[in-house]
């Protein structure tokens, strides 16, 4: 990762004594890191986790197809939640910025509630309560409704910060041209808001992807659930969970790098 100016200031050319200390530090940390890696491999080895029986099935195409199907499930849920949150977040933001006081109160309460409640609690709610009332909901919606509810509340605040970041002169200029409040918002404020908030919207997708793992609870076929099936089939726990964890990390890493790139490109400062 590129160093900032502040960090770079720490690393100006150092004298012979400091250089020696850095050398010693480097040596010690390399040895420590190697020792750590060796210890991990040794753990795998003495517990027999390096045996081919735990790994061979990764050469089978259908195992990867099944993992891929899990990933598709994860992506489907994430895109569904993301799309709903994009719109519901906007609606909640309008509510919170409304001129009508009761609407404002309602939207504020809703946002605080959805943001402050664990998604997992909400998923248990969707899992247990509708069936008590005799309603049937598919596992997809059991995951997507809570995940998107949380994301909507967060995005409402992101949008709000974006609207506030549009310079006031822009709004005044629009109104002085005779735009109505709605037109002003539609043609002047909203386009600029969207440009400002795009990186934050993308970054929030990481949270959505993470939340889809709660599909594990309701056995919606996403990555975690499919991993469990593979584990049951091949009796290999550590390698499968390891691979799945790495997939999640890579996917989310890619998303956050993309968000960083977007915000870097715009070089817009946020204070959310």
């Amino acid at each position: 990762m590129a160093m900032s100016r502040t960090e770079a200031a720490l690393f100006e050319a150092s004298g012979p004594k400091a250089r020696r200390r850095i050398m010693i530090g480097t040596t010690i940390s390399v040895i420590a890191l190697l020792a750590l890696a060796a210890w991990v491999v040794y753990r795998f080895y003495i517990e027999g986790q390096l045996e081919p029986q735990y790994w061979y099935f990764f050469t089978q195409l259908n195992v990867w197809e099944f993992i891929g199907a899990g990933l598709v499930g994860t992506i489907r849920a994430a895109i569904g939640s993301g799309a709903i949150a994009l719109i519901m977040g906007l609606v909640l933001m309008f509510g919170r910025n409304s001129k009508i006081a009761p609407v404002r109160w309602l939207a504020t309460t809703l946002i605080e509630f959805l943001r402050g409640t664990p998604t997992l609690l909400f998923i248990y709610f969707m899992f247990l309560v509708p069936s008590q009332l005799g309603l049937h909901i598919s596992t997809y919606w059991m995951v997507v409704i809570p995940t998107s509810a949380y994301a909507s509340a967060v995005l409402a605040e992101v949008y709000r910060a974006g609207v506030a970041a549009v310079p006031f002169g822009q709004k005044e200029a629009g109104l002085s041209l005779g735009f109505t409040r709605a037109q002003n918002f539609r043609y002047i404020v909203l386009p600029q808001t969207m440009r400002i908030v795009t990186p934050a919207l993308v970054a929030q997708l990481v949270v959505v992807v993470k939340d889809t793992t709660f599909g594990y609870v309701v056995t919606y076929p996403e990555l975690m659930v499919n991993a469990k099936v593979i584990i049951a089939n091949f009796d290999s726990l550590v390698p499968v969970y390891l691979v799945v964890a790495i997939i999640y990390i890579l996917v989310n890493y890619a998303i956050s790098k993309f968000a960083n790139w977007l915000s870097h490109r715009q070089s817009v400062k946020f204070n959310i």
Binding site: T6, E7, I22, T26, F113, G116, T117, L121, V217, Y241
Partner: protein, 217 residues
């Protein structure tokens, strides 16, 4: 409602206490670990910096559930058996320390490079610069994001409901009550209110702290 209070009132309070305990331990240890790692991350030792970068990207991007499942079910196969509650706390520490690192990095970047150049000109060494110039300013600059992090640690402590804890935390209790008897909406609402209020209180304390240090700066 009355039945809920008489039957489960105390359990609700106890479970809420467990949730708070898990969250507070995880947040405080995560803050400490994150601070130590941040020092390593800005140290002049390249392999250490790289290793910590990998650590941060790993635990920032892994879902808490996937991490918890790994610690609970995969580590015993590697000969590491840990009790359920420490498992939950460890997974939250790993994640919150990674986010602490990330926040502190932003905090450090708010400090003018000139301050560090001045300190170096005065002949201060790395550890003095870090302890008396960088950390105090970086920590006060990140109060707001750390408050947000604390709230999400409280929220994430609900993943404790996925493993059989000795004393259930709030989300686990609610599911247990609902599995035994259908008291649906009310139990969820009570738990939800507890979580939301906790978040609001933490946010309130955070704003107070921030105002105090804002005047100090």
């Amino acid at each position: 409602m009355k039945q809920l209070i008489s039957d489960y009132g105390w359990q609700f309070i106890a479970s809420y206490g467990v949730s708070l305990r898990i969250s507070c331990i995880a947040f405080v240890l995560g803050l400490l670990l994150g601070t130590v790692l941040t020092i390593g991350r800005i140290s002049p030792i390249p392999p250490l910096r790289e290793a910590i970068n990998v650590y941060v990207e790993t635990f920032r991007n892994i879902p808490v559930l996937a991490l918890l499942v790994f610690i609970v079910y995969a580590l015993p196969d590697l000969g590491l058996v840990i009790d359920y509650e420490p498992c939950v706390i460890i997974s939250l520490i790993l994640v919150s320390s990674a986010f602490t690192c990330d926040n502190l990095r932003t905090g450090i970047n708010t400090i003018d490079a000139e301050q560090i150049q001045a300190a170096r000109a005065l002949g201060l060494n790395f550890s003095t610069i870090v302890m008396s110039i960088i950390l105090p300013q970086a920590l006060t600059a990140v109060i707001q994001p750390m408050v947000t992090l604390f709230i999400s640690v409280v929220i994430s402590s609900s993943t404790g409901s996925l493993v059989p804890l000795a004393h259930e935390e709030l989300t686990g209790l609610v599911t247990e009550i609902n599995n035994k008897e259908a008291m649906g909406v009310v139990t969820f609402l009570v738990a939800s209110i507890l979580y939301v209020l906790t978040g609001l209180i933490i946010a309130f304390i955070g704003r107070r702290l921030e105002r105090r240090y804002a005047t100090w700066r």
